[in-house]
Symmetry: none
Subunit: 207 residues, 4 copies
DNA sequence: AATGAATGAGGTTTCATTCAT
DNA sequence: CATGAATGAAACCTCATTCAT
């Protein structure tokens, strides 16, 4: 008890004040990313928009990377909460795909700027070990879902990998659009995309 | 050579030598963009790879933006030439869409690095007049094509705008993949995407 | 404790608690100076090692310079106490010199880290009034001792100033060595240095 | 011949202009080191004294460490040239020691500021692998010289390591003094130190 | 046409210090 | 007494750009 007060960096059990400011800084970083792009995003600009000194930013986020990582992480956190509780017809694979698309694009419609900011970061903050090939994990999940449907005969035999990539790409494109264009209708996009996917996977009528 | 007085800007009737060097510089810029990303791309690095002094670069491209614009423009030029002469079944809309997909992804398969470089630039070098909303012109062209097919009854009544966006997004995603992952099969992607689009546009009950 | 109104500077009649903490902070500063060097010594690092917040340090030592000065002063205080009570053959000058060397290097052998820390500070924290020329006071004291011996004929006629500087330099070098290298033998150095000095001061032909 | 003009960093075959400026920058760095100390030495201050912009310094010395290293290296280069051609009585070990002392302190007397600057750098720019214990190589050379004399019986049996350290320390102390105090007499110091060393090594009269 | 040199703005980060609680 | 938060100056470094040769 006597020696429980260490630390010279932000406390692990942060004061509400500090917590609120951190969130505010992340918000400002999102704005800057969306409006000025990754290359145009500087710690100084974030501080300026938050109305604090540059030092405040580096106090809470010792490194620029820390700040941007938090932009990404906080979105994932929110997405996890919101999407996690979205459940649809999980009895059919096509139903699951529809739920996936809808919950994704609903989330996008609710947080267009944050989503765009994360895309900006993801596109530019490359992992240390060079550009990674391989399949995107989000697509991979979709692909497995599709393949499951194909195994049961519920879904037609189109290439699962390509369809998965296409779905993800379509969702991301709608997200990008929604972030820049307030008139864009992400939820409408979802419905139409569901239709497209459904038609693509429709078992061909055994004449 | 025609006249001997000093010029301080690149000749309006450029010498073949100068042209070749410009092309070389663009090539090197592509390499740097692919390997180091937009943020890592500096004039100095391009010059180093080209084996020339930094001054040479700024002589031919007064501004960094000029150089990067040329990276983009030259790809469009090449793409226009190669894709322009690709003709398929232009009697059916679905045939035209297939040709579009195939020629696009064939081009991507042939120039993966250049394509990746342009994506890098496009993602980061935003137009001066803020983020533009509205429909991407490439998607718009596809949408019109689809709508034409729907008008004739050849294509089913899925949302043309969403399908167009989805097609473009799928093509771009495959391009991004191909640029990073030499084992990726852009042409295979094209065929599978054609299938997906065909199924999506198939009139529902031809019975 | 005598009065209960707020104070904003450390109490003039410091509590034992405060005293102990100040000593602890000085100790930590010594550690940091030794391990990270002057340039690497920050208030934050000292606080971290002491397990207190940065504010505690600046509370007890309003200025970084105050802290480092205390590092120096406290060593001098300890040295004064320990060396002051060291007495040897004070009947002969050479005996006094030997005692000086031995007590100095004994002290060094007992406090190698603190000594190193002070050297780090002394080398970098220069007096406000520019670099001081002139004779180092410690050397001056030695010089006077030697000159006294020369006046009585006990010591040979070598240059007292140079010998004094040389002795001090040798002691400091041994101190520096001892601080970095735990295998160094400061006390052995003392004996050998005594021998060297004795030979240097030996009347030439006692015959 | 056509492709012999690479490089975007200072040319390996530098123009006389660049060479002169580099030397000037090193000179200014020496001044700053002497007057402001290691901790007070900033690239900006060096640039200010040289009357050039900060960028010029980092153009010629990409890193602060590069600049300081050059301060050290250039002194060693000059010292090597000047001391290398100093030859004295190399028939006796004591003669060699005297020559060593004299040539060292002559050099010091000729370049007091540069020497002081290098000491400043050496004291603070610690090698990456922590503080190194062990014997200083310069002392080691002296020790071997002394031991050689002892092997032949020319030199008395005082501890060679301690005497070597003491000689080096005395030389360095005189150098430090000379850099700050223009009235200091390094050459005089040399003569008196030679006397001290000679007496210390004098074979005791075999009665 | 081409080069090396120079510039200065701007970026990230560190840090001593101050202050409200 | 003690703390976490905030500040702003200054450090090093990168880089697009300009210019004399």
């Amino acid at each position: 008890m006597s020696d429980s007060h260490l630390r010279t960096t932000p406390s692990p059990t942060p004061s509400p004040r500090g917590l609120a400011l951190k969130a505010e800084l992340v918000d400002c970083a999102v704005d800057v990313l969306v409006e000025l792009g990754f290359a145009g995003t500087s710690v100084a600009e974030v501080a300026r928009r938050a109305g604090v000194s540059k030092g405040v930013v580096t106090y809470h986020f010792p490194t620029k990377e820390d700040l941007l990582s938090e932009v990404v992480t906080s979105l994932y956190r929110e997405a996890g909460e919101q999407i996690g509780q979205a459940t649809g017809d999980s009895d059919s694979v096509i139903g699951e795909l529809a739920t996936y698309i809808r919950s994704n694009l609903t989330f996008v419609a609710d947080h267009p700027r944050h989503v765009r900011a994360v895309m900006e970061v993801a596109a530019n903050m490359r992992p240390a070990n060079g550009p990674r090939g391989g399949e995107d994990p989000l697509s991979a999940h979709l692909r497995e879902l599709i393949e499951r449907g194909q195994a049961t005969g519920e879904a037609a035999d189109v290439d699962a990998g390509v369809l998965a990539m296409t779905m993800r790409a379509s969702i991301d494109a709608a997200a990008a659009r929604a972030a820049c264009d307030p008139t864009a209708d992400a939820r409408g996009h979802a419905e139409h995309l569901v239709t497209i996917v459904r038609r693509a996977l429709q078992a061909t009528e055994p004449r």
